[in-house]
Symmetry: C2
Subunit: 364 residues, 2 copies
């Protein structure tokens, strides 16, 4: 498949909203023992649950390393396709391609540079060369040509779009020292506009409290449909999350999108703080250079980290009283989709959630 | 994708002839330094030539190990898709699935057991576990359900079919001690008939002289179309090949196929004997348990080891006066196909040829 030396905007391609129709979904199988406890076994079960839930709505492909291929194939249900994709970890939202489409139904990938959320500055593991090849490999599997940006670091989880010219992101992430410190905010915005075909970028300040990705937007805000967003919220003014969510709320409420619409903002409460237990911490290999998982550390739990499938929404459950409230809220926001909750503590322990471990391929 | 506990015959599937329409073709990238000289570099160039030639006619997917992925992607032309398929070596004709189709256009794979051409009896390398997974992996990539035969060893190169109920094979291979010694000839024939939907098996005695696969049929006979076969030939009565080819000729000339037709047999002369040079031998890592490549050894060169593509035939050239004769003969046999020759000594040095390194997926 080709590398195209142009931009999506020049070629008449745009990034569709996640709520638009998909051809399918990719997931990468978890295994690294310095991030997933007990050799990845508990997380693998939850990945199976997520893949199974999404496969109710659209074709799911799971990429596994050669070593884990047979195990993944045995654990996953037969309707899920399993292919080999070697990787450094399983965050395909961030390592995978961002797909763009044109009016003729063609699909192309954007192959951003991936540097493990901050490279040598504050990245979460080293090396990350296999992850940086994941986008290319998924494009090949999908027979999609791609735009490759060898000098621009971006993760898919740091952006959300409405498919109609608007993108939402956070300064905490996109202006971080570990991504593109040589570029100004305006230059970064220009790259996004050219490669995703946008007219407007809405900049939030920060993501979820203690989010190790430097505040990816996909853990705090999601686009329900053009003009409508969901926001992670807390009413507890003593929680550091309050100030962050309030700041997002104020920015979003006072923003207009590329079409001049005011945004409708729906709050979904975060669960009560979730801390890593001693047993959970001890299940993870301690390796220099990989972010440690220490007992008592607070995890960046948020219901906003859900996946929007064809006719469905798959969202994380935290065994918290807010679980049911989140389900009801999502059911109201997505009246035409089936809402499926998956107990997701094991994904959260690895540093993300359901949206982070999925990557949609739009129908084109 | 599913494993189906039934047989092709019961389910109304049949193995089409290679000359029928294809969806595409798979190739596995060569790399193992104890079989391919100079770390596989010269062979890789030839594999690129073969993939490029076939891609003129149908979509080509090359499977490469994770380690060789980037190199394969760089060397192959952009119209060829590259995916990860871990492997023990690159003989996808033998490790890959045999595809069957039904009248509704469904395609399923037969996933025979692979044991490196003879297992612990006289196999060519150890271990072969990755190769035995290749068929499953290609089925997953193609989203094809499959029949898995955990107790029946077969390589795709040991059979040729006319798609109308007839299969040709060799006793040397199928009755070898290293495949299915627990089964009688009749029992082996029964398995083939059930899984490929056949009425008739034509048994040749032996394959090409010194063929290390225990005489795979695909190096000595190919099906041009139902009722018509091409046979590797020599007029040199002092060449051990003569007696073998004569024996095949007599059997084929006196055989009728499943439809009751007498076979039309076309002779294509083998090149003059090709021997491994000192330099070629020295370029291969010597490893206990892998068949050695020794100076002066005669290679099993035959033009019959060609690939039949949609509208094309890709055949091996040996820098021999017979090259041009083979091209003319193939042009006569395939008047509607473009005939492309590829210098293939480097594949031959690895123990096979163009047919051995390819596996078609029928259109269904």
């Amino acid at each position: 498949m080709k590398v195209i030396d142009s931009t999506a905007k020049k070629d008449g391609f745009r990034m569709p909203g996640e709520f638009e129709k998909h051809r399918g979904c990719y997931i990468i199988w978890p295994e690294r023992p310095d991030n997933w406890r007990l050799g990845g076994k508990p997380a693998q079960k939850v990945f199976v649950d997520v893949a199974t839930a999404i496969s109710k709505f659209e074709p799911v492909t799971v990429g596994a390393s050669s070593e884990q291929y047979a195990n993944a194939r045995h654990m996953l249900p037969e309707q899920v396709r399993v292919v080999e994709i070697d990787n450094d970890d399983s965050w395909v939202r961030d390592s995978g391609p961002t797909f763009v489409v044109n009016d003729e139904g063609d699909v192309r990938g954007i192959d951003w540079t991936f540097n493990a959320w901050g490279g040598l500055e504050d990245g979460l593991y080293f090396p990350w060369d296999k992850d940086d090849q994941v986008a290319q490999k998924i494009c090949e599997l999908e027979m999609s040509d791609r735009y490759r940006l060898p000098d621009f670091v971006l993760e898919g989880g740091s952006i959300h779009v409405d498919g109609e010219g608007t993108l939402i992101t956070t300064e905490e992430c996109l202006l971080s020292e570990g991504r593109n410190p040589q570029l100004s905010r305006e230059q970064i915005e220009q790259v996004l506009k050219e490669y995703l075909n946008l007219e407007k970028v809405i900049w939030l300040k920060r993501g979820i409290y203690l989010d190790e990705t430097n505040g990816h937007v996909d853990n705090i805000v999601n686009y329900v449909r053009p003009g409508v967003v969901a926001l992670a919220w807390t009413d507890d003014v003593n929680d550091p999350q309050y100030e962050i969510s309030k700041e997002c709320y104020d920015i979003l409420s006072n923003s207009t999108d590329a079409k001049g619409r005011k945004l409708e903002v729906h709050k979904i409460h975060v669960p009560k703080p979730i801390l890593i237990t001693k047993a959970e911490s001890e299940g993870v290999d301690a390796v220099d250079g990989t972010l440690p998982r220490e007992e008592g550390d607070r995890l960046a739990a948020s219901y906003i980290n859900y996946y929007t499938a064809n006719g469905g929404v798959v969202f994380p459950l935290f065994d918290d009283p807010r679980d049911e409230e989140a389900r009801q809220k999502l059911a109201e926001l997505y009246p035409d989709r089936e809402i499926i909750g998956v107990p997701a503590r094991e994904i959260l322990l690895g540093g993300g959630n359901i949206h982070c471990i999925t990557q949609q391929v739009p129908l084109g």
